[in-house]
């Protein structure tokens, strides 16, 4: 009971801190807005994103097509609205995978220490020294790109930082009195880890996950741009940019708008993440 109340108070303090941070609030609003847009894409899109019209090829932005049309006469705005779904989905699922893996490995390494720690952290070192883009490109090229492969590959190559972070937190929590107390009462290792230690290590994980979504969206769009992301005809911000590159001499709007969307999204998540860190970490507050 007492812990719940203090956790609630902590949350309130953090929320008050966050509200004072105008940049973080702006970032948070954009994040919410983007989420809503992605969810409501079918309602908001003025056209069918896949409907092509040979009479409307490469139209510049105008009242009919706000963001213009592409080389098949498809409406760019509609394609971008549906593309937001892909970006959000890839961002959340891949970060989810990374958080699960990173937390699991970091907790095990930090809690058990010794040989387990040595082994797991060497594996982290190994993964960290794999040139990441090489790993991504090779895996996706070998497995043939699909949205599931992309989510999995981004997640499985992005958990190492989190594992180190969680391990550090666990190491500092492991010997604290409340953990020793739980151990003295005969609680099992798993229970101590999940019930007593992990909740206290959640703040850095949350911050890192928020920043991670930004990173994953950036990575996905980069892969799409290299032709190894979400495959056409499914629209994604990255693969609209491929069309932008193909028509670079005549259709600037194909390049400008999707890139701007990526930039705004990544910026918003980064601002929110930094704001969360400042608000949630009492050590930084003084």
């Amino acid at each position: 009971m007492a812990r719940d109340a203090s956790a609630g108070r902590q949350g309130q303090v953090a929320w008050r801190q966050l509200r004072k941070n105008r940049l973080a609030m702006a970032g948070g609003s954009v994040v919410l807005l983007l989420g809503a847009v992605a969810l409501c894409a079918p309602l908001l899109a003025p056209y069918d994103p896949a409907a092509y019209d040979v009479k409307q090829i490469l139209l510049a932005p105008g009242p009919q097509h706000w963001f213009g049309t592409d080389q098949l006469g498809r409406d760019v705005l509609s394609r971008m609205l549906y593309g937001a779904r892909i970006s959000m989905a890839v961002g959340f699922v891949s970060v989810g995978i990374a958080v699960l893996l990173g937390t699991l490995i970091g907790t095990l390494a930090g809690y058990y220490g010794g040989r387990v720690d040595e082994l797991l952290m060497r594996f982290v070192d190994l993964m960290l020294n794999f040139p990441r883009l090489f790993l991504l490109l090779t895996l996706i090229a070998l497995l043939r790109p699909s949205i599931w492969v992309i989510m999995a590959v981004i997640g499985f190559t992005g958990w190492m930082g989190l594992a180190r972070l969680v391990r550090g937190e666990i190491l500092s929590l492991r010997e604290r009195e409340f953990v020793q107390g739980a151990r003295a009462l005969g609680a099992a290792d798993a229970r101590i880890m999940v019930k007593h230690i992990l909740p206290n290590a959640l703040v850095p994980v949350l911050v890192s996950a928020t920043l991670g979504v930004a990173g994953a969206i950036l990575t996905e769009s980069g892969l799409s741009f290299l032709g190894l992301g979400v495959q056409p005809p499914t629209p994604s911000w990255g693969n609209i940019l491929i069309d932008g590159k193909a028509n670079i001499e005549i259709a600037w709007w194909l390049s400008a708008f999707p890139g701007l969307a990526i930039l705004a999204t990544v910026l918003a998540y980064n601002l929110l993440g930094e704001g969360l860190r400042d608000a949630l970490d009492p050590r930084l507050r003084q």
Partner: protein, 329 residues
């Protein structure tokens, strides 16, 4: 120090082996085989011919035998021949591209450091000023800007709309017929846009880091002492402050090495620059395993070497670490 260095190198060897083993497994366990792609190109190839190809490449042997053989050849710096139709030795294919990627990265690093250090110092000494805020905005936007998109934008602006700069390759078609001076000029013009795009992300990160480092130093006691001695503010900042603040930043050089090849993939692909990144991209698509493995070996070694270099340089510039390490070893 020497003992520390040796120990550091020794723990790196199993890491490198692990990376090699993992990447080899990854290539071998993935569905399909390179001979299938070659066969697709040759519609009349029979099953028997395919079997001959497999034997030729040793693909009929168990994986561990293949790995052992491959590793033994790598130790002797023999990466075999490319699977692509030209069939050239892998090392030769890579060697002709190394100077391009390395040169680009060297220039990029020089640009980043020479801009980021003053930028960081200025925004730290004028914390919360308009300049500092503008730099902070640049940093956040720079972090969030996809490099391939920035590349498209500068190509549209400077290449297509204004027509000032070439947007692909390293040389013009008539390069051979130009005088030496004109050749240098031509090369420089081709380098401007790739370097501009490649530098933005690193510049944002490093200037932020420099600012943080400088802010930390400014609050130190020795800065107050220097001021109390009556030294001029410029001497305090530049002689006592910058010297200490710049050290941790310099050690970052080593940590930038791993990003070198990864960043090259996108920049070289967008700007059609025939470097190692472009080679990797092409090889991943055509599943040219010998080339892929060789590039992974190089990439991973660079990354591991960078880590060692960063640790060692940190120990060199900071006596406290040196002493601690000596006790540890």
């Amino acid at each position: 120090m020497l003992a520390y260095l040796i120990r550091r190198v020794l723990i790196t060897i199993p890491l490198l082996l692990g990376i090699l083993c993992l990447s080899f497994l990854m290539l071998k366990l993935a569905p399909g085989e390179p001979t299938i792609i070659q066969q697709d190109l040759q519609a009349r190839a029979t099953g028997a011919q395919r079997e001959t190809l497999r034997q030729l490449y040793g693909l009929d042997k168990p994986i561990y035998v293949q790995f052992g053989r491959w590793l033994w050849r790598v130790v002797r710096l023999d990466f075999g021949r490319s699977y692509s139709p030209d069939g050239r030795p892998v090392l030769e294919k890579i060697a002709e591209r190394i100077p391009i990627t390395l040169g680009l990265n060297l220039l990029e690093t020089v640009i980043i450091f020479s801009l980021a250090v003053p930028l960081g110092i200025l925004s730290a000494t004028r914390q919360y000023s308009v300049f500092d805020k503008a730099t902070t905005v640049f940093v956040f936007v720079g972090f969030a800007t996809p490099d391939f998109w920035l590349a498209l934008l500068v190509m549209i602006l400077f290449g297509v709309q204004l027509g000032w700069l070439p947007i692909s390759g390293l040389r013009s078609l008539n390069f051979e017929y130009l005088s030496f001076g004109a050749q240098v000029w031509d090369l420089a013009a081709h380098l401007v846009l790739p370097l501009l795009v490649a530098s933005v992300g690193g510049l944002a990160g490093l200037s932020r880091y420099m600012r943080g480092s400088m802010l930390e130093v400014i609050r130190q006691d020795y800065m107050r002492t220097a001021r109390a001695k009556g030294l001029a503010e410029s001497v305090v900042v530049y002689k006592h402050g910058v010297r200490n603040a710049v050290l941790p930043v310099v050690t970052l050089l080593g940590l930038m090495l791993p990003g070198l090849l990864g960043g090259a993939v996108i920049i070289e692909t967008v700007f059609a620059i025939p470097g190692m990144g472009q080679l990797f991209y092409q090889s991943a698509f055509s599943r040219d395993e010998p080339v892929l493995m060789a590039l992974i070996v190089i990439g991973a070694s660079l990354s591991l070497f960078g880590n060692i270099a960063a640790d060692v340089s940190y120990a060199l510039v900071d006596p406290r670490i040196r002493v601690a390490k000596r006790r540890e070893v």
